[in-house]
Subunit: 237 residues, 2 copies
DNA sequence: GGAAATCTTACGAGAACCTTAAATCGATCC
DNA sequence: GGATCGATTTAAGGTTCTCGTAAGATTTCC
């Protein structure tokens, strides 16, 4: 999330107070790379030289308007743009958004709102769409889907609880290797847990009841006496 | 996008210089099929013969006004229209837009602006309707249509509220995966929400009442204790 | 055989979640 | 500028299910 705040911003507005106000507020919010431009021409120059990641454009500029600037920019880039304007009429809004602006703020506005909308744009454009955050893998006939938190086998389906999910994730991340009981406890309870040893065993048992055909003779989640446990997974790396 | 520039334009204005100026500028922008009319009557004739795709109408004409012309045209067609006028009063604007004009430009104007607004109209009217913005999917017997914001089952139909829509969208975007309560709250309320945990639960319940046959024994929108919720959807990827 | 490590099962506390109703908010219409 | 209606939030009591504990059973290894 915070890497979004290291993106390069370009503010184009001919009014110094507004620019400074925005700049101050954005810096207070954690943005560091803020560039300014006062006019249409200067905006194009700065755009060339700094290659900003997002622009905040005033509609009214001394030597042209923001709409025209946007459509000029759009010929060579798809820079995300937030419009800033005193004119709040619907047509203007349509025009701006039709040209491919990403958002539109009418003056006067709350600085807070500007930041929120800006962050929304940055997230939308630059935040990598997180897919497949959790692994899905096969254990013999059964599929362990940490994505949806279930173990499946034909028609059967066993849901995993939060603790089981955390433990299985840790085990899978270290698959085919020994994971100490300490490491497992840490994964499920955090650093500062001092419960009974037995608690972990009970959870291991519960996991085995879901992933093993015969929980008492485990084939995948194996005990390593004196050390911990290991999850044997073949294939897929 | 460029095929929009092959649309037939009709310019109705009694001042030759203005017509010529617009004509020249539009041709420079790539428009090729531009027709002219000088009066109310001529406009109707040209309209009959060339069947333009969009019209730029001056409000003041020697033998009538643009508003009347528009309402005459509207009897037999829904030709998109951009008004051009020296009178910028709000009533005129309202009158024009009320009659179904698509946009309104006050003289003097930047030629650039005219083009932009014209393109905006053309895009709006002639651009192929962009495909569904929101998903429509099946949950058992019921169809969840986020495009129209309804859940249907045979004759029955349940409308979705704004919050329900936002939550269902987030859930569907992450279908078959666990979505944390935090992520759901963020989707429905934004980053800076500090309401009660319970609020989310109440909304989940409402959604279940619409998408589940037995809301108390959900089959699709499932709770994952300690983690969040998941919407189980089969098929379609 | 005996000690240590691990397994297994059952149960209850309490957290997490559900449910319903009432209060509040907000838009729309007289 | 109220009045009204639906959407949303708050509130409070109820329910369910996870998790941790305990205690006896079993396995392993010397």
């Amino acid at each position: 999330m915070d890497n979004l705040k290291s993106k390069k911003l370009l503010i184009v507005d001919d009014e110094v107070e507004i620019r400074e106000m925005i700049d101050r507020f954005l810096r207070k919010e954690g943005f560091t790379r803020i560039f300014h431009a006062t006019s249409f021409q200067e905006a194009l120059d700065v755009f060339q030289s700094v290659q900003p990641d997002v622009a905040i454009l005033d509609v009214m500029l001394p030597d042209g308007d923001g709409f025209t600037l946007l459509s000029t920019l759009r010929k060579s880039s798809d820079l995300p743009v937030l419009f800033l304007t005193a004119r709040g009429e619907d047509e203007d809004r349509l025009l701006g958004l039709g040209l491919g602006a990403d958002d539109y703020i009418v003056k006067p506005f709350l600085p807070r709102e500007l930041v929120l909308r800006l962050m929304a744009i940055l997230r939308r454009v630059y935040a990598p769409p997180q897919k497949e955050r959790y692994p899905v893998f096969q254990l013999g006939k059964r599929e362990v889907d940490l994505e949806s938190g279930t173990v499946r086998d034909h028609g059967n389906e066993w849901p995993l609880t939060a603790k089981e999910h955390a433990l299985l994730l840790k085990l899978y991340e270290n698959r085919n290797r020994i994971v100490t009981s300490d490491a497992l406890c840490q994964a499920a309870w955090g650093d500062d847990y001092f419960g009974y040893e037995n608690t972990l065993m009970v959870h291991i048992r519960r996991i085995r009841e879901k992933i093993e055909e015969n929980p008492s003779r485990p084939k995948f989640l194996l005990t390593v006496r004196g050390l911990g446990y290991k999850l044997m997974v073949r294939g897929d790396g």
